[in-house]
């Protein structure tokens, strides 16, 4: 019987949190192990994912994109899920777990607002109090999502510190948890943070890859040559990668945010840029930092990729050579968003547009799957503003 989840992925991961939280992490791990082998829990989660969130999502052969790309390109349509992104897979699972643990209150951090909306949604459904921490810069960039969270009954706590983006929102959520740990569950939104989060979030997101693997076998009678996903903290990517990791012939490609360019230092690509590992938000992982160990501000056009760290399992997949990491600039992601909108009638999220941009720019494959992690509605105002300013693609 499994009695623990992975705490380390090679040298990465661990639990670097104030002592106050250590018992809560142990409680969470035990509750997760118990829930994940309880058919009542797993059946309920599967039902919600199917009937409420809209799983399974289609694996769609994007014909015009394929024509341009010179090989079949399939899109895994997480954008079609309720609330518009893969984040709902994790939020429903963790909210259900919170309820099972008897927690009356849930907190979350959000960058793009997708995880915040997903958590607010799950909490409305399950009647749990919900507080979402969000940097004020992200509140500006992702205004519709702030409004959505309000309608759903969640409280959005503006975070003014530092760059006023995801890193600070995450720090503020952890501080809240330190104070309210007795009543509160922290729904971390990506496959990062202290153990057991990277393993829990991966296991709640691996449904993406499980469906994809079955669907591509059915449609093409073979596995894809490449699976491509964007990487912020890494949850949609680890979700789609995991069921393929044993298929050594399948290339796994994670696409980080190159922002204004890796050479400028203004990016969100610690894996691609080869940043030194260190401790951020409870885990040892590659992070953007200065010589003294102060965490640097990330930069990306996309709020969901605007993060100076990355999930520990991705760092290990990189080091072991099982996955490869690349980076796409703000400009190329914006261009890909517009291209895919016109080619396919799909407006992808700016995050997902990084994966699409990499696929558009890199042939040399016979069959690709791209994880379309979310839809771009939330990005409209920002995208239109940038197109007006820079003339667009």
């Amino acid at each position: 019987m499994i009695t623990s989840v992975e705490h380390r992925f090679g040298p990465y991961g661990g639990q670097y949190v104030p002592e106050t939280l250590m018992p809560a992490l142990a409680e969470l791990e035990a509750a997760w192990l118990d829930a994940s082998r309880d058919p009542e829990f797993t059946t309920r989660l599967d039902e919600l994912l199917r009937d409420y969130a809209g799983r399974a999502t289609p694996l769609y052969l994007a014909e015009r994109l394929s024509e341009v790309g010179g090989r079949p390109i399939y899109l895994k349509r997480e954008d079609l899920l309720h609330t518009g992104a893969h984040k709902i897979n994790n939020a429903l699972g963790q909210a259900l777990l919170a309820k099972r643990m008897g927690k009356r209150r849930v907190i979350a951090e959000t960058g793009a607002g997708q995880h915040g909306v997903a958590t607010a949604t799950a909490c409305a459904l399950l009647d749990i109090e919900c507080v979402v921490y969000m940097g004020t810069e992200d509140m500006r960039r992702q205004k519709p999502n702030v409004e959505r969270m309000g309608l759903l009954g969640a409280t959005v706590e503006p975070v003014e510190a530092g760059s006023r983006t995801l890193k600070e929102a995450c720090s503020a959520a952890i501080r809240d948890w330190v104070t309210n740990v007795a009543t509160t569950h922290y729904v971390l939104g990506t496959a990062a943070g202290p153990a057991p989060y990277p393993a829990i979030v991966r296991d709640l997101q691996r449904v993406i890859g499980e469906e994809t693997r079955a669907q591509i076998l059915e449609k093409e009678g073979r596995l894809p040559q490449r699976v491509i996903a964007c990487v912020g903290g890494g949850s949609n990517a680890i979700g789609i990668f995991t069921p393929f990791t044993a298929d050594v012939e399948v290339e796994l490609i994670g696409v980080e945010a190159a922002g204004e360019g890796l050479e400028t230092g203004r990016h969100g690509a610690p894996l691609t840029a080869g940043n030194r590992p260190g401790v951020l938000h409870g885990a040892y992982e590659p992070i953007m930092q200065d010589d003294d160990g102060q965490i640097l501000e990330a930069h990306s056009i996309s709020a969901g990729l605007d993060y100076p760290g990355v999930g520990p399992e991705h760092a290990w997949l990189r080091d072991t050579g099982r996955a490869r990491y690349e980076a796409i600039s703000d400009r190329d992601a914006l261009a890909a968003l517009q291209r895919v909108a016109k080619l396919e009638g799909i407006i992808p999220a700016l995050e997902s547009s990084h994966a699409l941009a990499w696929a558009l720019a890199n042939g040399g494959s016979e069959l690709d799957v791209v994880c379309l992690s979310g839809r771009g509605d939330k990005d409209l105002a920002q995208v239109l503003e940038m197109i007006a300013r820079d003339g667009g693609a």
Binding site: P18, E19, T20, P23, A24, S171, V178, T179, R276, G293
Partner: protein, 264 residues
């Protein structure tokens, strides 16, 4: 300092020879508002009767800290405080009283454990507190500190279960930092249940038990001593004085002197 007295011994002496009901251990944010003033504030702590100083290295993402210390760290970094600069402040203060460095794990990782601990020793630092390095992640650093006679001081919280508390207490060096509340650093109106918290901590260790988080007034310091604390840590109140007072050095001197008097 002569090279023969270790940091661990120096901390033990600070508790034994405080001449108070509990040792007074004020916290200082290094480099706040700037390096020179933070050194002067530390000197004022010593002049006013502090027995040990806890010297914080500012960090960009201090997860265990409330708004006052977080803001001080941010502003120290904006004023270009560096790890070396703060360690130099530590070296100056170590001439007067034992210095325990408080910093987050990434500061230690960034230098490398061994280089960092060597630097502590070279600067005459007696101990180290890393609030986000819990028991499970601490063994390597503990061994390096032990080899150099530097006390790696662990924290325990009200949420720490008994069995875990015993394991942490057994590995404690210098003192056991007992967090008075479930929460981040910051001033609080009253100390709640600290007698039970302190009794539980004292039963788990042979080193002195110090109480911290939320102690802001001479009355609270005295109450902590009455409740059984062997050391009293005062943080946010003094950092707030450093940020608000017209003459921060005079203000912290008065505050620390009042607390020292309350403990005599």
């Amino acid at each position: 300092m002569t090279g023969t007295v270790t940091g661990v011994e120096r901390i033990a002496a600070a508790f034994a020879d405080s001449g108070k009901r509990a040792a007074l251990m004020p916290y200082l944010m290094g480099g706040f508002p700037d390096l020179a003033t933070s050194r002067a504030i530390g000197e004022a702590y010593a002049d006013a009767g502090a027995d040990l100083v806890e010297l914080g290295i500012p960090f960009s993402d201090p997860l265990a800290d409330g708004p006052v210390i977080h803001a001080a760290a941010t502003s120290a970094l904006a004023a270009d405080a560096t790890v070396d600069g703060v360690l130099d402040v530590g070296a100056a203060l170590a001439e007067r009283l034992p210095v325990v460095i408080m910093c987050y794990a990434n500061i230690v990782y960034a230098r490398g454990f061994e280089t960092f601990v060597d630097a502590l020793r070279e600067h005459g630092v007696s101990g180290l507190i890393v609030p986000d390095l819990p028991l499970e992640e601490a063994p390597v650093l503990l061994e390096l500190c032990d080899e150099r006679g530097i006390a790696l001081v662990p924290l325990v919280a009200p949420t720490t279960p008994d069995e875990r508390l015993r394991r942490i207490g057994a590995g404690a060096r210098g003192f056991l930092y007992t967090v008075s509340v479930t929460g981040t650093t910051g001033e609080r109106g009253a100390l709640v249940d600290v007698e039970a918290i302190l009794r539980r901590a004292a039963a788990a260790t042979v080193v002195p038990v110090a109480l911290g988080f939320g102690i802001a007034t001479p009355e609270q310091a005295a109450a902590a001593a009455d409740a059984g604390a062997a050391g009293v840590i005062v943080g946010s109140r003094l950092v707030r004085a450093a940020s608000e007072a017209a003459d921060p050095v005079a203000e912290v001197h008065a505050l620390v002197a009042a607390m020292a008097a309350a403990l005599r």
